[in-house]
């Protein structure tokens, strides 16, 4: 479904030219959940933005190929991107506070993709939105439809984002740290929701996170990025149980798990 080959992204307006992603390759099958893990500045988000055709103008794709369902994404015109983005590939972000428009109602934001990509009439769009609200677990859809983002909690806003992203039966969803800003109990709910949507709709998810614990809980395969390069790739199980790259080993050793307690059984007075 998705094939990224030798992707490099750089900033050419700085001296010396800066490569932030180097020779990155990845393939994804329909319905798969693949994780991209790495620390801040490792190139995760740049890769995701490139995949959405959303790189800022300073950043350029310097080499490589990106094929999505037989189409070459790198040759897409602005118009071509508008056909793909939001309809076949959509994205959700870490901060549901800033990625929803504060001045538009929840209903209006969720139907946006339907307005752009379908010729459904108003009533049909509303019916689909209410149906999607139910699917992503938003309570009282009729009432929420006319609410504004600030009236919702972080977890509910993220549900809105997910609903909006999936409403056109998206084939691929790019999720950039979608649970990082949420409390653990909410995080667990959102991860469960993503899994459910993945199973019911067959939407493939490219799941970007700095947290291997999250990746472990939702992905089947994982790519480890370090300083712009994919240093390791494989099934989550394999990578976690027998990591090959040094950086993967460091990441795993640093997971604050409940087995290696740093604070040894210190005697207290």
């Amino acid at each position: 479904m998705l094939e990224i080959e030798g992707l490099s992204i750089g900033f050419r307006d700085v001296e010396p030219p800066l490569e932030v992603v180097r020779d990155f390759s990845l393939t994804m099958e329909p319905g798969e959940i693949v994780g991209v893990v790495g620390e801040s500045g490792s190139g995760k988000t740049m890769t995701a933005l490139a995949l959405m055709g959303l790189l800022k103008s300073r950043a350029r794709i310097t080499s490589g190929r990106m094929m999505f369902e037989g189409r070459d994404l790198l040759t897409l015109s602005r118009k071509g991107w508008e056909e793909v983005r939001g309809k076949e590939i959509s994205m959700i972000f870490q901060e549901p506070m800033t990625s929803l428009d504060p001045l538009l109602t929840i209903g209006r934001q969720m139907e946006e993709s339907l307005r752009l990509h379908t010729d459904l009439d108003r009533r049909e769009r509303k019916r689909r939105v209410l149906d999607m609200m139910e699917q992503v677990g938003l309570p009282q859809p009729e009432k929420l439809y006319g609410c504004y983002p600030h009236q919702l909690s972080g977890g509910m806003r993220q549900r809105v984002m997910i609903g909006a992203a999936l409403i056109t039966n998206t084939r691929l969803m790019v999720a950039d740290e979608p649970t990082t800003a949420l409390d653990v109990t909410i995080q667990a709910q959102i991860l469960a929701l993503l899994k459910k949507m993945n199973q019911e709709h067959g939407t493939a998810i490219l799941f970007i996170s700095h947290d291997l614990r999250v990746i472990r809980s939702i992905c089947s395969r994982v790519v480890v990025m370090y300083r712009g390069e994919a240093v390791e790739m494989g099934s989550v199980e394999e990578v976690l149980s027998s990591p090959q790259a040094d950086h993967t080993k460091q990441l795993i050793a640093a997971i604050p798990d409940r087995e290696n307690r740093l604070r040894g059984g210190k005697e207290r007075s």
């Binding site: 620390e39 801040s40 972080g154 409390d183 653990v184 109990t185 909410i186 995080q187 667990a188 700095h210 947290d211 291997l212 614990r213 999250v214 472990r216 809980s217 460091q250 990441l251 050793a253 640093a254 997971i255 604050p256 798990d257 409940r258 290696n260 307690r261 740093l262 604070r263 210190k266 207290r268 007075s269």
Partner: protein, 241 residues
């Protein structure tokens, strides 16, 4: 040994924000006792009152009722975001010396400098860092600076509010190890606030679980994680990955 080594006591503390009709109580009957050399974890979800408690302890939020008793001088705070908590226009050396400059019986410049150098080294930064600006430092390095600032006046009690939450895991681990090393060396006491149960488990001796402004469970870390009693603690543990 019981009361004698207690550095901080909070008794039936109620506190909140706003005036008169707009008053909103955030903390309800919070009790807390922190011993010398102890690391006490405080865990709970956003908005539950964790940060309000630490602010109340430092007097930034007035208590409505209850007592806060300090048995040490100059408790200090370390914040989550090392990007917004350091003055971007000043060099690290200046920032480190600032608490000393504010003291009543001010040390001469030479001695202040000396202390800043020593403290920087202690947190793993060499002397050259004193000439740099916060913008030149990574998140981990800035958090090292924040820790150095909190310790430079000889404080024994540190309130650390999500000190590693904004850091990458590998850096997170380094900072946790640094804090544990300093704790041992200087016999510090920490109130360690985090929403991350795994971080609490790694760092703390005891943990208090806060929900909607109340402490719902408290105990040795092993006991609370191994055999949680309160439904909310169970819920938190079940949700963590």
């Amino acid at each position: 040994m019981g009361r004698k080594s207690t550095v901080l006591e909070v008794r039936r503390l109620c506190a909140g924000y706003g005036k008169r009709k707009k008053y909103r109580q955030v903390l309800f009957d919070v009790d807390l006792c922190l011993d010398r050399g102890e690391i006490l974890g405080l865990v709970g979800e956003s908005g539950c009152g964790k940060s309000t408690l630490s602010k109340a302890i430092l007097g930034f939020v007035p208590a409505k009722s209850g007592q806060i008793i300090h048995h040490t001088s100059r408790p200090q705070m370390v914040f989550q975001d090392p990007f917004s908590s350091l003055n971007p226009g000043k060099k690290i050396g200046w920032i480190l010396e600032e608490p000393l400059r504010m003291q009543k019986d001010r040390l001469p410049a030479g001695e202040r400098r000396e202390k800043a150098v020593t403290m920087a080294r202690r947190v793993g930064l060499d002397e050259s860092f004193l000439e740099r600006y916060p913008g030149d430092l990574s998140g981990g390095q800035r958090q090292r600076v924040s820790i150095a600032i909190s310790l430079i006046q000889g404080s024994e009690l540190i309130l650390a509010d999500e000190p590693v939450s904004a850091l990458d895991v590998t850096i997170q681990k380094q900072i946790m190890e640094l804090m544990l090393g300093l704790q041992e060396e200087l016999q510090l006491s920490y109130l360690f606030i985090s929403h991350d149960l795994d971080v609490i488990y790694q760092m703390c001796d005891r943990v208090m679980v806060m929900q909607a402004g109340r402490i719902v469970e408290e105990g040795e870390v092993e006991r609370v994680f191994g055999a949680p009693e309160h439904p909310y603690t169970k819920e938190l543990l079940a949700a963590s990955l």
